[in-house]
Symmetry: C3
């Protein structure tokens, strides 16, 4: 795909500075871009590259004030990330070649497949499953009994969707994710062994949800583990039985949420965060990576850090002094000496 | 399935208060239950729901003393969790429809499959593998050369069991778990590259073990990585080569155990815990979530926390003061001033 | 395979002490070895076993000075681990039985497969993919459009290689690893929802790389996520979009690297380490397990620990005092009392 700077500016409703006939055929990162590439400047950390990049066109914020002359044609837009998302869709090469139902898939005769949906090789779709329109079910996916999937979903290779789970519209489940495995629940027995608690609930994933590769969402003991609309889950996340994740909350990689915890809307959960079971996390909570929440969060829009987690700014204040503890200990020792020198007793 | 309160009380050997003819058709969580549901009260955190729930029948501990009147029929039992486990089995809808060997599976002619065992589509079973009776091998499982699996096991979709590994009776391996991948062992070379150590051992999983989704248990360099009877492993756990996990130990999600470490019996390893290699962890050790054990634990039944982990109560005591460090630092500063005011030298 | 101590000493260019005709048929760990086994002593922690082992032959370092008599025949070598690696290859039982292309694989007619490469059952290879010579593609692997794989690679069951990704020569990808899933990138919208950033880049894995089971390496937003030659990745690791990992760096299990971070050469990243996005980590950096790096590392060969991570020895120094904080607090309290006794004001 080749496109001129003028065409791009028109598409993005942006204003143009420089050569409107500059042609680009590929998006590229500002520090790597070559002639013929379209680059962008979103993060101020990368501003120095704006003066050295070989990109032919550079996408910047409308308020950007260069400190030195800039070689590429500039396109100024109100929101760089949104404009970029729009452009990348144009360059996206990942689309499938139309709807095909592989003859090498194993589809139960009492499963229902919507219009425009393609099914890859070695997919298994069990009895009673219902899949909506215009979905792409990649090869080697497992879809258990009575699973329901909405329309416009992409289910990547190796995803396992266990029986009775539900997925809404416009969802993306990345490779090898597991939805609806049994929760980790056991009753302790007198002889120190464990008796398995059967898990007769399911997982309900609403609309516009993305689930990362190898992320595991366990089914409820009873009722549903609930992933609300707009939730984004990164790779290798653990969501235990009966957890609820509120609308538009984003959870970074390798975080883990223990059983029956409710996470509010619009939260940002940092990578490798752990959250204990049976607590409520208020809307807009933000956890720093590696935080460990041993209690709930009551106040909306709280930022927390540490293990056990406390308010972010309190953790940072304490941690600054933690780093100076050898010095603090020394000061105490000197105080003791000085006090004794004055005749005090410690 | 519909059942009366009287039938439930009889089945559970419980005592009944209220309408013995109350009918339930579904188990549900106490905070979500509707009329016609069976709920339970196990965790005191949820007691307030007992007075507002719409459940028709409520399972409680025999010692439960309600503070206000309760609408549902009560069934009092000696152990709520065990009674619930028993009931949930009755309601469990996940059972397969009898033994079938899929024609779309690839089974080596020199593999042996027991009586009553079903094999799903796109399963691969290699030469010399032996599978016991009454197992369910779900679709898309890989079972390598000379693998041995006992009886009454469930192997969920996408599990990979590498060559020569062994699984006992009554085991459950959840989706996409990997058993017997090579351990992470390399010999450093003079040019800073790494030479791979071949791993000629295997993994031995004894009886009554449950392994979570995407959990990885590496094969031994030589000898066996050993998961003893009754062990329960949650999702996304890493068990390195030559680790041994003792009977009935339970490990929560995303924990990682480094090579050659031996974990005792009846331990409770918290989520996201990390344990260093080549150490012994005593029987009954309990690690708080996110603990990092850089040494072994000698004393049985020790609780630990922190990274590096120390005794739980010591970590908590220190962490309380960690949170007050800015204040402590201020007090030291004021002491210094006061001492100087008295003519001291610091 | 049966071999004499004399043959082993010759093969390893080692010196022999004891019976040259001692025969071994199996490698074993020193603490478990029986008569007829070959054991080794590499880690001084295990030296006590040298005096009690039943092994018939024991591999030791050329400088080893036993404190007591030793029963097995000794073979002294310059590098125990390298010698062992060489031997284990001889005993390795995991090799495939020659090149076979399964008729149950789904291979696009415009994919190219090299000489001596075997393809297992239920593998999917899409249009335009190119696979080199002498590879083993195990069953149930997914290889997307235009993927390129070099020669002498092993791709274990359930690996997913998404479209346009590249893998060099002599690479090993363990079971259920996911290469080239979309990065976790979204543009925040005015209504608090997220707009997906398309990811039009790929993943490039150079030569001699090993990737652990269930490890996920995301594709670049644009450009490439880069895993340089000789890199070793353990299980369940998360590598985000546009990360670069330098030559011969080894990363232990469950570590996570956020987007666009560059990790230098010859680094050792401890298990469960987290590294923030958009930073540089200098060559030779060593992170203790569970470290959390919130900034880059400028000085090569730095060892770090803690969350947020600081220099290893500084963290340890502070942590020693952290463990004594209750005592330090008590000393401050006593100082305050003593000072007041002297007439001071605090």
């Amino acid at each position: 795909m080749k496109v001129t700077a003028a065409q791009l500016a028109h598409l993005l409703d942006g204003s143009l500075e420089g050569d409107p006939e500059a042609v680009v055929s590929r998006p590229a990162r500002i520090e790597e871009a070559r002639s013929g590439d379209l680059a962008f400047l979103d993060n101020p950390k990368y501003e120095s590259y704006a003066y050295t990049t070989n990109a032919s066109v550079l996408l910047v914020h409308e308020s950007f004030q260069p400190e030195r002359p800039i070689a590429p044609t500039l396109i100024r837009v109100a929101d760089v990330r949104n404009s970029l998302a729009l452009l990348l869709e144009k360059f996206d090469n990942s689309l499938s070649n139309g709807s095909v139902i592989s003859e090498q898939a194993s589809i139960h005769e009492r499963a229902r497949i919507g219009i425009g949906t393609s099914i890859g090789a070695f997919v298994v779709i069990e009895e009673g499953a219902i899949i909506g329109d215009n979905c792409i079910i990649y090869p080697q996916v497992f879809i258990g009994r009575n699973v329901r999937i909405g329309s416009n979903c992409k289910i990547y290779p190796g995803v396992r969707l266990h029986h009775d789970c539900e997925v809404g519209d416009n969802c993306i489940l990345h490779a090898n994710a597991v939805i609806g495995g049994d929760g980790f629940g056991f009753a302790p027995q007198a002889d120190q062994s464990w008796k398995k608690m059967p898990h007769v609930g399911n997982v309900v994933i609403e609309n516009d949800v993305e689930v990362g590769s190898c992320t595991c969402i366990d089914r409820a003991a009873m009722g549903s583990t609930l992933i609300r609309s707009g939730v984004k889950l990164d790779n290798l996340i653990h969501i235990a039985h009966n957890v609820e994740v509120g609308n538009n909350t984003a959870i970074a990689a390798q975080a883990g949420i223990a059983g029956s915890t409710r996470i509010g809307e619009n939260c940002l959960i940092g990578g490798q965060t752990g959250i204990v079971g049976h607590v409520n996390i208020a809307n807009g909570t933000k956890t720093q990576a590696q935080s460990g929440l041993s209690t709930g969060v009551e106040e909306p829009n709280t930022a927390v850090f540490g293990s056990p987690a406390i308010e972010y700014k309190n953790y940072i204040r304490s941690y600054v002094i933690f780093k100076q503890l050898p010095e603090l200990q020394k000061r105490v020792r000197e105080l003791e000496k000085a006090l004794m020198a004055l005749g005090g007793k410690v």
